[in-house]
Amino acid sequence: MTAFWTLQVLNALQHAALLFLIAAGLSVSFGLMGFVNLAHGALYMLGAFIGISVAAQTGFWVALIAAPLAVSAIGALLYLCLLGRVARLGPMPQVLVSFGLVFIATELVRIVWGDIPLVLDPSAALAGRVDLAGATYPVYRLFVICIGAAMAAALWLGVNRTNLGAALRASVENPGMARAIGIRTERMFLLVFTLGAGLAGLGGVVAAPITAANPGMAVSALIPALIVTVIGGMGNIAGAALGALIVAGIEVFGAVLFPAASAVLIYAALAVALIWRPEGLLVAKGAR
């Protein structure tokens, strides 16, 4: 029996790691830049598909690096050509434009990669299984947990140990004044957006060996990521990590303990969290 619970705890951690990778970029662009980027799921999807294509040519490890970089580049390009201008127009235009991008990205993926779901085979080094406390667990899933944890730590340090987080929040709240104290808001937004896109791309390529990549994932990845962001609190790396753990915990243990309710469990949790804390569990430092 303990093996069973070990397995489920690992499953929850692994699920949380994936959720964190998708949600972190969203949380940063949402909470720190105030940008409602619904196209985040599309970037995640591109990460998966690009990863699959690259891996077919050069193998898994190259794909693991190349896909996030490619998606970052796409993100940067999008920001420079399109989203940077839209960011200034307020939330409604952002919703619309990023929704339009979802449509376009989904169709492009269908045209390029077709409608049949694709998977990525991880490197042989990650293919086996290990025994942990009586449970046999796929190595790849442990690898996912590690990547999630490492990215969480790196991001937390990056945002909290530098002034980046504060500078972002200042720029969102009052761009004019932020510029008046010398913050180069445009350059910083570009950087952060690129970073967020890269994270989404990483999430996509990391998820591809576990869940098959398909054109529907741009939309289906979005909702869990949004829920994580909102439950955890926007613009807050620790919050995104906590949110991912909570959501993953609810999904995994909900499936185990209350299977009949598991479809609504996550929404119920979201509703309860919002009623209890209408502004997220961990609110970005300083915001009321």
């Binding site: 619309l96 929704f99 449509f103 376009i104 492009l108 949004l226 909102v230 979201l270």
Partner: protein, 312 residues
């Protein structure tokens, strides 16, 4: 803030007349499309009331509309004739919206959106798995309304009926926004703290506004049920609400005429583009982006701005 000025009235008349002509000339499918546009436009107007004038952007309006549609179908099954069934359904949607509003009214921005998403999805999941509601297979055999002077089983008559309902809903919404309540509602959206300081109860006003919007969404649901004579949980899924939001922003949020323009464009484009490419979403996506880059006000907002400019 809402004003029903001459420009908007002219636009409304042109739109309704245009659709009428389209229905007359467009044959059976044209009539179907007009009915579909009218339904989507009513739903978008209801969302405009909540989001455009009350700042309550909802991803649950599809579900709220669905409550209306299912309530109408159920009432029919239990022997109610269409008109009383419709009243029941409007009440059901209004009450659902009121409850969701009561819980969510103190949330702002994205938090409100997520709360409506959560409640909407719960309603969807419930319906999806409720055997007695037909589950994901939906329910058929729904009656259309009966009118003494017109046979609504005729597509043309139904299209006209849908257009009349659209007009009625538009006028109702416009009138609501111009009452003391409507003005207070817009004031609360503008500045809740100041509104409270002059004696308006922000929470109660927001809840009432959301309930009214939901009741109108119920009208859309009833009309959809009557049109298709079949309903399924698909209309309650959050993507339906997302689509309506897109229609609303595309047409122009906070204008009340925008929703009609957005619905007309969205539906026509959907069928037209689907006729020549499997990738019609691509066309819609590109159009959305183009509209925003043209000014960010939506089609109606942008047109109004240009016209105002030209007439000055």
């Amino acid at each position: 803030m809402f004003r029903l000025d001459a420009m908007r009235i002219v636009l409304l008349v042109l739109l309704l007349a245009g659709m009428q002509v389209f229905a007359m000339l467009g044959g059976f499918f044209g009539q179907e499309i007009v009915a579909e546009i009218a339904i989507l436009a009513i739903l978008a107007i209801s969302l405009d009331l909540a989001a455009g004038f009350g700042g309550m952007v909802s991803l649950g309006h599809g579900a709220i509309m669905g409550v209306g549609a299912y309530a109408y179908a159920l009432a029919g099954q239990h022997g109610l004739t269409p008109w009383p069934a419709a009243l029941t359904a409007i009440a059901a949607s209004g009450v659902t919206g009121g409850l969701i509003g009561a819980v969510s009214a103190r949330m702002q921005g994205i938090f409100f959106i997520m709360a409506t998403l959560a409640f909407g999805q719960m309603i969807w999941a419930f319906t999806f798995s409720a055997r007695w509601l037909g589950g994901d297979n939906g329910m058929g055999g729904i009656a259309r309304a009966s009118l003494p002077f017109s046979d609504l089983s005729q597509p043309m008559a139904f299209a006209n009926y849908a257009l009349c309902l659209l007009l009625a809903v538009f006028l109702l919404a416009a009138a609501t926004l111009s009452t003391p309540f409507g003005r207070s509602y817009q004031a609360v959206h503008d500045n809740a703290a100041r509104a409270a300081a002059i004696g308006l109860a922000p929470r109660r006003i927001r809840i009432t506004g959301f309930a009214i919007s939901s009741a109108i969404a119920g009208v859309a649901g009833i009309l959809a049920a009557q049109h298709m004579q079949f309903i399924s949980p698909a209309m309650m899924f959050w993507t339906t609400s997302g689509e309506v939001l897109v229609v609303l922003i595309l047409g122009g949020i906070g204008t009340l005429t925008g929703p009609i323009v957005g619905a007309a464009i969205f539906v026509t484009l959907k069928y037209w583009a689907a006729g020549w490419t499997d990738h019609w979403h691509l066309v819609i996506g590109a159009l959305l982006i183009a509209v925003i880059l043209a000014g960010g006000r939506g089609i109606t907002g942008e047109a109004e701005r240009r016209l105002r400019h030209a007439f000055r």
